[in-house]
């Protein structure tokens, strides 16, 4: 199962995850992909994981960032930068202001 330890705690973590989920969903729809198709492209065994992510539960494991970026037709660096905004806002703030 795909997981990654939480790097931030606080009341806004869930809100950020939901925001990330909405962003991922927008990207997927923009590519005209179903959740199952996206799951196939990124190698997820059970496609409901995509649905889980899109409602803001869990996060993409770092070792899959590039796969996800390619599947969603994004530049990996830009994709990770955006994800960092949701997953690790403090690091994002320090790096990018």
């Amino acid at each position: 199962m795909y997981s990654h330890p939480q790097q931030a705690t606080g009341h806004d973590v869930q809100a950020l995850r939901r925001e990330a989920g909405r962003w991922l969903k927008e990207l997927r729809i923009k590519q005209n992909l179903t959740q199952r198709e996206l799951a196939d492209r990124v190698g997820v065994e059970y496609y409901t994981f995509v649905s889980q992510l899109e409602v803001g539960r869990g996060r993409i494991p770092p070792d899959r960032y590039e796969l996800w970026a390619r599947a969603l037709a994004m530049d990996p660096a830009e994709f990770v930068k955006q994800l960092m905004r949701f997953y690790d806002p403090e690091t994002y703030r320090i790096l990018f202001g």
Binding site: P5, T48, R57
Partner: protein
């Protein structure tokens, strides 16, 4: 003692074609995992949703971080289970097949049951272990706590026979090996468990679950037996009376009908509208001999099963939808246990309304139970360094409170899933003045019953209400929400001041919760009739500075 297990629990009907939401049966099974974990002090959040194709999923999350630890889904009619602890995805036609595959993939190392009882491994225990394993992998100190707890329980079993004792080393070594693999290999926590840890983890957790959750399973056996009697025609009168409890509950509270939900539905679960008195609940012996005990047994199990689970069903578009009232399913006498489970889940789902506003009321609660030492939670006994010598059934050491030591809130407190709206502040009205005077009790120099009586009197006298308004934070209100179990519309909060307890919210007894003044915005709380100071055996003291009655009042009603 025999644990009776209903095989019908997993007898799910054939599914209609096309994706379907979780059935009540399936939800009952998943929430039973939440319930059992919660009874062991392992608090998890849950969330469920539907994919864009309509396939349902259900996740268990750590309550502190929200991290997902286990994922269940039904995809194309096949059940899927995955967790962060096991590098495998289990698939099956139903939960039972998943359980079978979990068991097939791992060598079971089970402890001999206590007291010569015959233990049947309930499939739910495997599911519980599956989720608990994931929880322990994400929190290695929890694993260490469990090991200590299980060790203590083993060594303090009453009637332990030589066979059980001789079996301990190999079994216990396996547990130790598993815990060692966690605690000595931090990398495994981040990169995934080692193969050795995986090989031991599930089997060990099943063992831990069986042992640590034994008292809960004992209680489950009581209800199983009660309904077995109903099915077989025995104890008709008492079970009918017990059934009345269930029917009453189901009429007052909505029944989950997830099948009627579709993406985008927006329904609010209403809290119970009546203010039914909450009868004190007592554990009953599993070797019941009289019919008259059955109603209590059923009531008790309803209490056990009726965990406050205010859940959100996440639709594909990210909105949260809740269950809506539905027509109750017909009573299938051949599946009475399952029916009770459905009712219990229905009660659970309806008990806590995120939109509800807890308010305080000055009058003493008429439903205030009499507190005896048997009512006091293990965590509270540990906090007060009291050994419940009257508890001869568990045989556990006084400090063998198990996983509960690790949690802030224990007993009937699995986490409500999604609380979207912070409840309004609580205001407590001053009580009538009364002659002042602190009372001081040395816990070590008094019999436990004296100490508990003093606390019970402090709570129920009506003259120790805090005299200042208090405004608990929204997070505290959320922490208190799980204590509004089925039918309980008010709880007594004892505000305490002490530097000793590590937890701010402590389950004390049914309907009574200890809350540290640290988490209340008001300072210098007091009551008109004096504080109760408990000098602890190990040094230090706890001062009870007042009592507040908090009611669950719906802003809607």
């Amino acid at each position: 003692m025999i644990l009776v297990v209903s095989a019908s629990v997993f007898a799910f009907p054939q599914r209609a074609s096309g994706p379907q939401p979780w059935t009540n049966d399936e939800l009952a099974e998943l929430y039973r995992v939440v319930e059992i974990l919660g009874r062991a002090g392992l608090l998890v959040e849950t969330e469920m949703g539907l994919s864009d194709e309509g396939d349902p999923w259900f996740v268990f999350c750590r309550r502190d971080s929200g991290d997902v630890i286990a994922h269940f889904a039904r995809i194309g009619g096949n059940f899927v289970a995955a967790s962060i602890a096991v590098d495998a995805t289990y698939r099956g036609a139903n939960f039972r097949q998943i359980v079978e595959r979990m068991v097939e993939s791992q060598p079971l190392i089970l402890p001999p049951p206590a007291g010569g009882s015959r233990l049947l491994l309930h499939p739910s225990v495997v599911l519980v272990a599956f989720v608990a394993t994931a929880l322990a992998h994400s929190d290695k100190m929890l694993a260490v706590d469990w090991l200590r707890s299980v060790d203590a329980q083993w060594d303090h079993r009453p009637g332990q026979d030589t066979h059980a004792a001789s079996d301990k080393p190999g079994w216990f070594d396996s547990l130790q090996g598993w815990v060692r693999s966690l605690t000595q290999d931090d990398k495994a926590l981040h990169d995934g468990p080692s193969k050795e840890a995986q090989a031991l983890s599930l089997a060990s957790l099943i063992a831990i679950a069986v042992t640590a959750l034994q008292p809960i399973m004992d209680k489950m056996s009581v209800i199983s037996q009660a309904f077995s009697d109903e099915v077989s025609g025995q104890s008709r009168h008492s079970v009918v009376a017990a059934g009345g409890h269930a029917v009453q509950a189901s009429q007052e509270m909505p029944v989950i009908d997830s099948a009627s939900l579709s993406s985008g539905d927006q329904v609010v679960v209403q809290p119970p509208t009546s203010d039914r008195a909450q009868a004190p609940h007592k554990l009953v012996s599993s070797d019941m001999s009289g019919d008259a005990q059955h109603p209590d047994a059923v009531t008790d199990i309803l209490h056990v099963a009726a965990t406050p689970v205010a859940h959100g069903l996440a639709s594909d578009d990210g909105r949260l939808v809740a269950a809506q009232p539905a027509v109750e399913q017909p009573n299938d006498s051949g599946n009475a246990f399952m029916l009770l489970q459905q009712k219990a889940v229905a009660v659970a789902a309806a008990t806590v309304d995120p939109a509800s506003t807890p308010v305080a009321h000055g009058e003493a609660s008429a439903a205030m139970p009499v507190i005896t030492i048997d009512d006091v939670s293990a965590q509270a006994l540990k906090l007060l360094t009291i050994h419940n010598s009257s508890d001869s059934s568990s045989g556990a050491a006084p400090d063998a409170t198990g996983p509960a030591q690790h949690q802030q809130v224990v007993d009937t407190a699995p986490a409500p899933v999604v609380v979207q709206n912070d409840p309004a502040p609580v205001t407590v009205v001053a009580a009538n003045p009364a002659p002042a005077g602190d009372a001081e009790i040395n816990v070590g120099q008094n019999a436990p019953v004296v100490v508990i009586d003093a606390i019970a009197n402090f709570v129920s006298s009506g003259s120790h209400s805090v005299t200042q308004p208090i405004n608990p934070s929204a997070s505290l209100v959320r922490d208190l929400a799980p204590f509004f179990t089925a039918g309980r519309t008010s709880i007594e909060v004892i505000v305490f001041d002490s530097s000793s307890p590590t937890a701010d919210v402590i389950d004390f007894a049914p309907g009574v919760v200890l809350v540290s003044d640290n988490v209340l915005s008001s300072t210098h709380l007091s009551n008109s009739n004096g504080n109760l100071i408990l000098d602890l055996q190990g040094g230090g003291n706890i001062t009870f500075v007042g009592v507040a009655t908090i009611g669950l009042h719906s802003a809607i009603s």
